[in-house]
C-alpha cells in the first residue's frame, strides 16, 4: 500500500487484512498450542495480526516481518531448547529426526525407513509420512518463504543481522563462489547419511543440538565434531553481526538448498521490473542471503535461494516487486482492492502459516515467561 492512498483508507484495508490473519491464526493456534491457556494463544494471534496491520499500513514488509520472525525464534529457544538442557541423551538418534534442517539431508534414509515400515507393517502416526505431508503443504503455500517467515532457526540469524549498523566485514566475490555450498552439503549429506545410516548433519554440523551426547566416542573424531559444531554456531551468531548477512542460512543450511529446489512448486517470486530498474544493484548489497547477482545487461538476477523476505523491496525504489510466476495480478479499484495484489496474497499465506506453526511454542513460551516473573 503506497503513500498515495489516504491514511484512512490505508488503515481500513490494513484493519481488514489483519482481521483476516487473526481469525484463522486464533482458531488454529488453539489446536496447535495444546493445553496452553487461551489467553496466551490470543496474545500470540494478536501479535500476528498486529504485524499484518503494520505491514499493510506502512508498506514495510521486511521490517515488521523480521520482528515477528525473530520473536518467534526467540520464543522457540526459550520454550523448547532451554527445556532440553536438563534432558539426558544417551545415544545418537537412529531414526529420522523431527527437525526440518536435519530431515532434508536424511531424506534417502527416510525413504529407506518407510520401506522397512511398509514391509513390517509398523506405521507411525507422527512419522516421516505425516511430516512429509506437512512439508508438502508448506511448500505449496509459501515455498522458499519458509526460510524468512516460519523457520524457528532462521529467525535467530535474521534478527542478529539487523543488530549491526553496518557490516564490519564485507562479503567479497568468494561469497558468490561459495553460494552453492548448502546445495553441495545437501547432496553430500544425503549420500553419506545413507552410507552410514546416521543423521550426519545432526552429528557433525548442527549448531543447535547444545549437547555432546550424540558425538562420536573416539577422541579425535569427537574433537573434530566439537570444532565443527562451534564453527557452525559462530556462523549463526557472530557471522550476521560481522557481515549483516545470514551466514548460517546462506552457507551451511542444507534445508535452504532443499527448499530452494522444491520452492519452484510455489508460485510466488520476487521479480525485477525491467522498466523501473536502473541497474544500481542496491538490492544485491542489501539481500541478507546473497541471492541477487549481477545478471545480463548489469540487471539484478534473482537466484533460487531468494526466500522472499522483502528486504530488497525496501532498498529499491520500485524496481522489484512480488509476483505470481513473474507476473503482476490485474489492478483493481476501490479502497480494499489494493489488498488483492501478489504481495498481499504472499504475505497473507506466509504470515498466517508462520503464526499458526509458531503457535506450537509461542504461547507456551509466553506462559513460561509469565510463570518465571510471577515466581
Amino acid at each position: 500500500m503506497g503513500d498515495k492512498i489516504p491514511a484512512g483508507e490505508r488503515a481500513g484495508a490494513a484493519g481488514l487484512f489483519s482481521a483476516l490473519v487473526f481469525l484463522p491464526v486464533f482458531f488454529l493456534s488453539a489446536q496447535a498450542a495444546g493445553g496452553v491457556s487461551r489467553v496466551y494463544t490470543l496474545a500470540w494471534s494478536l501479535f500476528a495480526a498486529g504485524t499484518a496491520f503494520a505491514i499493510v499500513y506502512t508498506g514495510r514488509v521486511s521490517f515488521f516481518r523480521r520482528i515477528f520472525f525473530s520473536v518467534s525464534a526467540l520464543a522457540f529457544l526459550i520454550h523448547f531448547k532451554l527445556s532440553l538442557l536438563g534432558g539426558v541423551f544417551t545415544a545418537p538418534p537412529s531414526e529420522a529426526p523431527f527437525c526440518h534442517i536435519a530431515m532434508a539431508p536424511y531424506f534417502l534414509n527416510y525413504l529407506y525407513q518407510q520401506y522397512l515400515a511398509l514391509m513390517s507393517g509398523g506405521w507411525k502416526l507422527w512419522g516421516p509420512l505425516t511430516l512429509g505431508a506437512a512439508w508438502l503443504f508448506i511448500t505449496l503455500a509459501i515455498g522458499r518463504g519458509w526460510c524468512s517467515w516460519a523457520c524457528f532457526y532462521g529467525g535467530i540469524d535474521d534478527g542478529l543481522c539487523s543488530l549491526a549498523r553496518r557490516p564490519l566485514l564485507k562479503t567479497g566475490h568468494w561469497a558468490q563462489k561459495l553460494r552453492d555450498l548448502p546445495a553441495a552439503l545437501l547432496v553430500f549429506m544425503l549420500l553419506v547419511s545413507l552410507a552410514l545410516t546416521l543423521p550426519v548433519y545432526c552429528l557433525w554440523l548442527c549448531p543447535f543440538k547444545l549437547t555432546e551426547a550424540f558425538l562420536d566416542g573416539g577422541a579425535v573424531v569427537r574433537r573434530l565434531q566439537y570444532w565443527l559444531m562451534f564453527a557452525s554456531l559462530a556462523a549463526l551468531v557472530i557471522g550476521p553481526l560481522l557481515t549483516k548477512k545470514r551466514i548460517f542460512c546462506s552457507f551451511l543450511c542444507p534445508f535452504a538448498a532443499w527448499q530452494a529446489f522444491w520452492g519452484r512448486l510455489n508460485p510466488f517470486r520476487v521479480t525485477p521490473d525491467d522498466k523501473k530498474c536502473t541497474g544500481c544493484m542496491a538490492c544485491a548489497g542489501i539481500c541478507p542471503v546473497m541471492a541477487i547477482k549481477t545478471g545480463p545487461g548489469g540487471r539484478p538476477e534473482i537466484l533460487p535461494y531468494c526466500n522472499l523476505c522483502g528486504q530488497c523491496l525496501e532498498a529499491c525504489p520500485g524496481g522489484l516487486r512480488y509476483t505470481v510466476f513473474g507476473r503482476d495480478l490485474p489492478a483493481r479499484r476501490g479502497w480494499a482492492a489494493g489488498l488483492a495484489s501478489a504481495e498481499n496474497f504472499f504475505i497473507y499465506s506466509a504470515l498466517t502459516l508462520g503464526a499458526v506453526f509458531s503457535a506450537l511454542w509461542g504461547p507456551a513460551a509466553l506462559r513460561d515467561l509469565v510463570q518465571l516473573t510471577v515466581r
Binding site: 546445495a183 553441495a184 547432496v187 553430500f188 552410507a195
Partner: protein
C-alpha cells in the same frame, strides 16, 4: 571356475547396497562436477571409474592370493586409511582448483596435463581398494583360495555384481548443466575433506 565367479557374484549381490552407499558419496559428486548433459561423456567417466575399481580388485586378488600362499593372513593396517587419505586429497585438490579457477583456466584441459583426464580411473582404483566394506569379506575368501586364476574369477564375479548397484548413478546425469557442475565441485570438495579426515583418523 564358473562356480567361483558365481560365488563372488552372489557375495556382490548380497552386499551391493553397502557397496553402492560407499562408492556413491565419491562417484556422484565427481560426475556432478565433471559430467556433461551429453550422456556419452558421463558413461565414459563411469566406465573409467569402473576400470579403476576393476584394476584395484584384480591387484588385490593377486596380492591376497600371494599373501595366502605365504601364510600371511592380514593386510598391513595402514594400507586402507592411506588409500582413503590419498583419495580424499585428490578429490579436494581437484575441487579447490576447479572452484578457484572457474571454468576457463581448467586444470583438466588436456593440453595442460593429460594425466588429470584419467582421474576417474585413479578414483575408481583407490575406492576399489579402500572404501568398500564388503571388499574385506571377499579378501578373506581369497586368502583361503591361494590360487591366482581362481582369485581373478572370484573377484570378477564380485566386481560385476557390485557394478550393477553403482550404475543407477548414471540415471540423473542427463540433467547435468552448468549449475550442477558448480554444485558438484563444492560437493567434491566436501567429500574430499571428509575422506581425508577419515584417512587421517584411521592412520592415527
Amino acid at each position: 571356475m564358473p562356480a567361483l565367479f558365481s560365488e563372488g557374484f552372489l557375495l556382490g549381490l548380497s552386499t551391493g547396497f553397502y557397496c553402492m552407499a560407499s562408492c556413491l558419496p565419491l562417484l556422484a559428486p565427481y560426475l556432478m562436477a565433471e559430467g556433461r548433459s551429453v550422456w556419452k561423456i558421463n558413461f565414459i567417466i563411469f566406465l573409467e571409474f569402473l576400470a579403476g575399481r576393476f584394476a584395484a580388485y584384480m591387484l588385490f586378488a593377486f596380492l591376497a592370493v600371494m599373501a595366502g600362499k605365504a601364510g600371511r593372513y592380514a593386510m598391513p593396517p595402514w594400507l586402507l586409511p592411506a588409500c582413503m587419505l590419498s583419495c580424499g586429497l585428490i578429490m579436494a585438490a581437484l575441487a579447490v582448483f576447479r572452484v578457484a579457477s572457474g571454468t576457463s583456466a581448467c586444470l583438466l584441459r588436456a593440453d595442460l596435463d593429460p594425466f588429470f583426464r584419467k582421474l576417474p580411473v585413479a578414483l575408481g582404483f583407490v575406492t576399489g581398494i579402500s572404501i568398500c566394506p564388503p571388499f574385506a569379506a571377499g579378501f578373506l575368501r581369497l586368502l583361503e583360495l591361494a590360487d591366482v586364476v581362481k582369485g581373478f574369477c572370484y573377484f570378477s564375479g564380485f566386481f560385476t555384481a557390485t557394478s550393477l548397484f553403482i550404475s543407477p548413478v548414471l540415471a540423473g546425469t542427463p540433467w547435468i548443466g552448468r549449475r550442477a557442475n558448480e554444485i558438484g565441485r563444492l560437493t567434491l570438495l566436501i567429500a574430499g575433506l571428509w575422506y581425508t579426515g577419515l584417512g587421517i583418523s584411521g592412520l592415527m
